[in-house]
């Protein structure tokens, strides 16, 4: 399965790069969301996969019994997911506001900060 995850991460990364290179900032956002998923898969698979037991310690036991999933990457991903969510929400709000004030979501038509010498 780890190979499958590696392939999937690659596919998601490729798709997200394609989207992020689009003129449409909305599609950029889509790409960003996908890229986060790709990164999470990379971290997850990097901690190596197990057959399924969650990293819990049964009542009465001092340690998990048998092989359980690697808890550390999960914690990292949790952190990363929440951070990505925060960044994504911000980026979304920014695109939204930019559309309202600048009247476009086409990055090629944004020329206020650059493109002319005047600000």
């Amino acid at each position: 399965m780890d190979v499958v995850l590696a392939l999937l991460a690659g596919v998601l990364a490729a798709a997200s790069v394609w989207l992020m290179l689009d003129r449409s900032l909305v599609r950029f956002l889509f790409g960003l969301a996908l890229l986060g998923n790709a990164a999470n898969l990379v971290i997850f698979a990097s901690g190596r996969l197990t057959e399924g037991a969650p990293a819990l310690i049964a009542k009465g036991a001092a340690a998990p019994e048998g092989d359980v999933s690697n808890a550390l990457p999960q914690a990292l991903i949790l952190t990363a997911i929440v951070i990505s969510f925060g960044l994504f929400a911000f980026a979304l709000s920014l695109v939204h506001r930019a559309h309202k004030d600048l009247g476009t979501t086409d990055s090629e038509t944004l020329t206020i900060a650059e493109g002319s010498d005047r600000t």
Binding site: L25, G36, T79, F90, A98, L110
Partner: protein
């Protein structure tokens, strides 16, 4: 104060200040957040100086967060480099916080500007003090989101446009960094940087380590704004309020450079010829493209922005050469640059207040009308250009000597020529804004009068930073000592590793 407090307070203080500033601001007092901000940064400065003195006296300091020994928990650790960076962060933070009292309007303050500012500082200090790679990512994100907000807060159109570019490109860097961490963890099973130093020696996949190193180089390269990854910087640094530009210019790229230095001395040193060879090429290209970019601009903040890039090249050059003298130069350069760059933006802001614009062809007459401002501009400007006896001179001197020492003629030549081009483009600001008469006549200079309080808030930080520049220039030895010790620690990180890993082998 115990090491635990010394290491934790520089991070905890700004967070506490942020919460306080925001709640105080909501509670109604208009000026409270400003004072919380100034008070917090002043305290940070104090604590960080204590931290630096402790590190200077006793060597690297570390604490294990939560009491969990490394490499299991997260370690906060300060060697000279880390401590110096925290001091300089707090100091420039304080200066800009004071400046912000007269620069940040009420609308922005109400939206939480001061809280965001303090979170930014917290993120930066966190990045300098953490000994854990993933934790470094987290601090990068803290810094990043705070910078996003500061950049677009208040939201005029240019800010939104510049903000989009900044956000888009930095988010990419962030994800790259995250992936690189995941891969390195997959290879080594650890996230602690000192532990990585040890573990990587036993990993038998040199090619893969180098590949991952290059991925990190890319991620931090974007953050540091090196060639050809710097686009986000000139696209955005000229749009926010001056205080924001100044603190960005001082700190953000430097966190990237710091991360490069940390990783490429502590972790990725297996194939120095390849990785640092790439860094050297990047350094040269960054210096040249940055300074040419500056030469092409006609707007004060755009010129200064491109200069950041060019100067980053010098720091990377120090890292790339990877000798004691070169690293000394890189560290010295970092410190010098933060002070000088923040100051130039601050002076630029005052010049704009007085003359009405950042556009060089619309302003002038400052030399005649405000000679004190001319002096305050000349000090950081000449320092940036490497003119003695100011801080930048020593920084460049060390790096050039370091490159001559190892017979790296090309980079030495580039560094020298770029120095001249820096003089050229800084003199443009001088000729246009200061010497040239104001196109609208003398009366246009100082048309909008500043109140006494505003003048103090705007000028005091500039004077403070300029004095530091002069002091470093006239009495460089203590700073060279610091940088030399730091270079020594970076090249032989045993003490750092020992204090982080404690009793572990």
């Amino acid at each position: 104060m115990s090491a635990a407090w010394l290491l934790f307070l520089p991070i905890a203080l700004p967070f506490a200040g942020a919460v306080l500033a925001f709640i105080a601001g909501r509670a109604g007092d208009r000026r409270a957040p400003q004072w919380v901000n100034v008070g917090t940064t002043a305290l940070m400065t104090l604590v960080s100086l204590l931290l630096l003195s402790a590190v200077w006296r006793d060597g690297p300091q570390a604490i294990q967060m939560g009491g969990w020994a490394a490499p299991f928990g997260i370690t906060l650790v300060a060697d000279i480099l880390g401590a110096v960076m925290v001091v300089i962060t707090a100091l420039s933070g304080l200066a800009v916080a004071v400046y912000a009292m007269a620069d940040i309007d009420e609308g922005r303050a109400k939206l939480g500007w001061h809280a965001l500012y303090l979170v930014l500082l917290a993120g930066v200090t966190g990045a300098f003090l953490t000994g854990d790679l993933f934790n470094l990512y987290v601090w990068f994100e803290v810094m990043l989101i705070a910078s996003f907000c500061l950049l677009v807060l208040g939201g005029d159109k240019a800010q939104l446009d510049g903000g989009l570019r900044y956000v888009a490109l930095n988010l990419v860097a962030t994800v790259m960094f995250l992936m690189a961490i995941g891969l390195l963890y997959g290879l080594t099973g650890t996230l602690n940087m000192a532990d990585l130093h040890v573990t990587l020696k036993t990993v038998d996949a040199p090619g893969l380590v180098t590949t991952i190193a290059v991925l990190f180089l890319g991620a931090f390269g974007i953050k540091s704004a090196v060639f050809p990854l710097f686009f986000w910087l000139p696209a955005s640094y000229h749009v926010p309020p001056v205080a924001v530009s100044a603190i960005f210019a001082a700190l953000l790229t430097k966190v990237g450079v710091y991360a490069l230095i940390r990783l490429f001395t502590l972790v990725f040193t297996a194939d120095v010829d390849y990785t640092h060879g790439i860094l050297l090429v990047i350094a040269g290209a960054t210096m040249v493209t940055g300074v040419l970019g500056a030469a092409a601009q006609n707007q004060v903040r755009k010129i200064l922005s491109f200069h950041i890039i060019s100067q980053i090249g010098y720091m990377v050059m120090g890292l790339a050469l990877y000798t004691p003298l070169a690293l000394l130069g890189a560290v010295f350069y970092l410190v010098h640059h933060i002070i000088v760059k923040a100051n130039l933006f601050l002076v630029g802001g005052v010049a704009k207040r007085i003359t009405g614009s950042f556009e060089l062809d619309r302003i002038g007459g400052l030399y005649k009308a405000k000679p004190w401002l001319a002096v305050l501009f000349l000090i950081p400007a000449l320092s940036l250009a490497g003119i003695p006896p100011l801080s930048g001179f020593w920084a460049k001197l060390v790096l050039i000597e370091a490159s001559l020492e190892v017979e790296a003629w090309v980079i030495a030549g580039v560094a020298l020529v770029v120095g001249l081009l820096t003089v050229f483009s800084m003199s443009k600001i001088w000729l246009e804004a200061f010497w040239k008469p104001h196109p609208d006549g003398d009366a246009a200079v100082g048309a909008v009068a500043l109140t006494r309080g505003e003048t103090v808030a705007l000028v005091a930080p500039i004077v403070l930073l300029a004095s530091i520049t002069v002091i470093i220039g006239l009495a460089p030895q203590p700073f060279l000592d610091l940088a030399a010790r730091s270079a020594q620690e970076l090249l032989a990180p045993e003490a750092y590793v020992r204090v982080v890993l404690g009793g572990l082998p």
